[in-house]
């Protein structure tokens, strides 16, 4: 068991609380960079997919986990990021400028959209964002001159300082690009959590009145959260475009929005780990199922809705039995080992709280 003897405040402020944790994450990052030498290109592609979903998950997590606003329309922001990036590059901007800008533009659009949505709570926000996701599809078709409508677009090859990056022919380079973006987004997220704005997010989530009384501007804070969330999501969208190789109005459908939300719930709402755990499930579930299916009833038989059906069941089981998601389970297992053999079952008992009515604000 690790005991933190706190000697300076710095321990709570710095990136990692102790040397051990810093070493663990350092090793993890080293491993991530060494990965292309350890596994073959096919699996590098799969891991890239996990990381892209994780970035998208971080984006939505910031909104849902940190400020408690559920969005069922984040695929729309994936789309904005993806199209903006592609269009900016077509206009002649270099990738190194276009890509960050695409995220920032998505963030600004998100914050602007958030302004009317700020007054919405709970289900109303969920429904408004569903509508947004559905509208995105139609709007992409209507904006055919820019978006290519139903025939879609193919992103150009990425060049960063003369280095060419392409998902199919050079999966390793693309992997490194995605890895760097992942690390940057994770750092942003972590930095927010340990600074005043991150605390204001939690304050807005838990009690708007007292947050106001402490000097937090509710609307501005929520819009900022929405904007930051959309910025990260926009980057994920741009990367998804490259990963898919082609995209059109149906690529970023409402199903993607829903999958994203389910993903972060399964992973564990409110934690950075949760986004990554959830991404692993989303990325590997299809493969896992098809292997299972081939083993059980032979290949070649298509079962429509199998993936979403199983995904739905997993989610229901998690919400019923482990509302903190995979991360919650992981924490418990870790604590159990750290305390071994002193862990007690009721240490993990859930806190009961009463339904907070939505009719009062």
């Amino acid at each position: 068991m690790r005991i933190h003897f706190k000697t300076t405040y710095e321990q709570d402020i710095r990136l990692f609380p102790d040397l051990w944790t810093a070493c663990v994450y350092g090793a993890l990052i080293l491993l991530a960079f060494a990965l292309p030498y350890l596994i073959n290109e096919f699996y590098i592609g799969e891991v890239t997919n996990v990381l892209i979903w994780a970035i998208a998950g971080l984006g939505l997590m910031l909104l849902t986990g940190q400020t408690g606003q559920a969005s069922l329309g984040h695929a729309a922001f994936l789309a904005i990021g993806c199209y903006t990036n592609t269009i900016l590059i077509e206009q002649g901007l270099p990738f190194i400028v276009a890509f960050p800008l695409a995220g920032i533009i998505t963030g600004v659009v998100g914050a602007i959209i958030a302004i009317p949505a700020l007054r919405l709570h709970g289900i109303y926000l969920a429904i408004a964002t569903i509508a947004l996701s559905i509208l995105a599809d139609d709007i992409i078709v209507l904006l055919e001159p820019w978006t290519g409508g139903v025939s879609g677009k193919f992103p150009e090859m990425i060049t960063v300082f003369g280095l060419e990056i392409e998902r199919w022919t050079m999966p390793t380079r693309f992997y490194y690009l995605v890895l760097v973006v992942t690390i940057i987004c994770t750092l942003f997220y972590r930095n927010l959590l340990r600074s005043p704005l991150g605390r204001a997010f939690a304050a807005v989530r838990d009690s708007e009145v007292s947050a106001t009384a402490m000097g937090v501007h509710i609307a501005r804070t929520k819009a900022t959260a929405f904007g930051l969330s959309c910025m990260i999501t926009g980057w994920a969208g741009a990367l998804m475009g490259y990963y898919a190789g082609t995209f059109n109005n149906e690529t970023f459908s409402i199903v993607i929005s829903i999958t994203l939300l389910m993903m972060i719930v399964i992973g564990g709402l409110g934690s950075i780990h949760g986004a990554f755990f959830g991404a692993v499930v989303v990325a590997f579930l299809p493969q896992g199922l098809s292997i299972l299916k081939d083993g059980l009833i032979g290949g070649g038989v298509a079962i429509p809705g199998l993936e979403t059906g199983v995904f739905g069941m997993i989610l229901i089981l998690f919400i019923l039995f482990e509302p903190m998601g995979i991360y919650g389970r992981w924490l418990k297992i870790r604590i159990w080992f750290e305390l071994f053999p002193f862990a007690r079952k009721d240490m993990f008992r859930r806190q009961k709280s009463y339904l907070k009515t939505e009719r009062l604000r």
């Binding site: 009317p116 109303y124 569903i130 939505e358």
Partner: protein
């Protein structure tokens, strides 16, 4: 499609066309309204939103179809329909009993996502049982047309409208007049107080889920009488959401009104707006309502006292 046959444009023809658009819109709107009714019932009683209500409707339709169609059980329709409604009511109750009840105290987000996931599961299960080919219900409601002063109305459309209004009216009466209905209202307005007044809140909430299941079954039967269904039919629940929000999520007549508004907008938008814009209409209206009346047209939200 309506409208495409009327080539020559006389004034009378135009009025007829508008009438036909109106009736078909109303009939669709009734189905939305019935699903929206389910949302509102559950929301009022538990503050949960059942995003799977559309899939309940789909399931209700398939259960009826499985009971009555010749290639399945081949029961007479008038036995199959009440049976299906009962089955769906029981299913709704059990769902609450085994799943929703255990979410007590969790965030709204959890409930929202759970019911969405439930929808996925129901779609998957329905596909496994009944396949993914569109099928039609062998329903006596689906037969023939009614001639009303030159307007040709589908029998099914008329039946849908009549049944919907009857059902909404009786639900409304139920909540206003019967003891159980009033208890349900009380349970919805203040769970804690209702609990202390001796109303078995959990049991009442289970009943509401059952009622929502039954309503969905009725919607499903009507929907399947109007056309083919497949496991993805429940996705039109999204339009029913729009309906419920426009109606304000608070009142049963409001839900029906919202459904009718969405239902009527659709055929008219398809007829009079350019192709790309017509599908947008219901959602644009939804967003407009949310922007200007954030809690629907008949808001129930008050400011919290501190």
């Amino acid at each position: 499609m309506f409208g495409s046959e009327t080539v020559h444009s006389g004034r009378g023809e135009e009025i007829l066309e508008v009438l036909q658009l109106l009736v078909s819109g109303l009939a669709n709107g009734c189905v939305y309204g019935l699903i929206a009714l389910g949302f509102v019932l559950i929301y009022k009683a538990t503050e949960a939103v059942n995003f799977a209500q559309g899939d309940f409707m789909m399931l209700g339709a398939f259960v009826t179809l499985g009971l009555t169609n010749a290639e399945y059980l081949d029961l007479p329709f008038w036995i199959a329909a009440p049976l299906a409604i009962t089955i769906m009511a029981v299913l709704g109750y059990l769902l609450d009993f085994f799943i929703l009840r255990h979410l007590f105290g969790q965030s709204q987000t959890a409930v929202v996502i759970l019911t969405i996931a439930l929808g996925f599961v129901l779609r998957f299960v329905a596909g496994l049982i009944w396949g993914h080919e569109p099928q039609t219900l062998e329903s006596p409601l689906a037969l023939g047309d009614v001639q009303l002063g030159g307007v040709v109305l589908g029998m099914a459309d008329v039946a849908v409208i009549v049944v919907t209004f009857l059902l909404t009216w009786s639900l409304y009466q139920f909540f206003q007049r019967t003891k159980l209905g009033l208890a349900m209202q009380a349970a919805s307005q203040n769970q804690m107080a209702a609990y202390f007044m001796g109303i078995p809140v959990r049991w009442v909430q289970g009943l509401i889920w059952g009622l929502a299941g039954a309503t969905a079954a009725v919607a499903g039967i009507l929907f399947a009488s109007k056309g083919a269904i497949d496991p993805n039919a429940g996705l039109l629940g999204i339009k029913a959401f729009a309906a419920a929000v426009i109606g304000g999520f608070g009142s049963l007549p409001g839900a029906l009104a919202g459904g009718l508004i969405v239902g009527v907008i659709e055929p008219f938008a398809a007829r009079y707006l350019a192709a790309g814009y017509s599908q947008i209409a219901p959602y644009a209206l939804l967003l407009a309502v949310l922007v200007f009346r954030p809690h629907g047209l008949f808001s129930q939200v008050r400011v919290k006292k501190v």
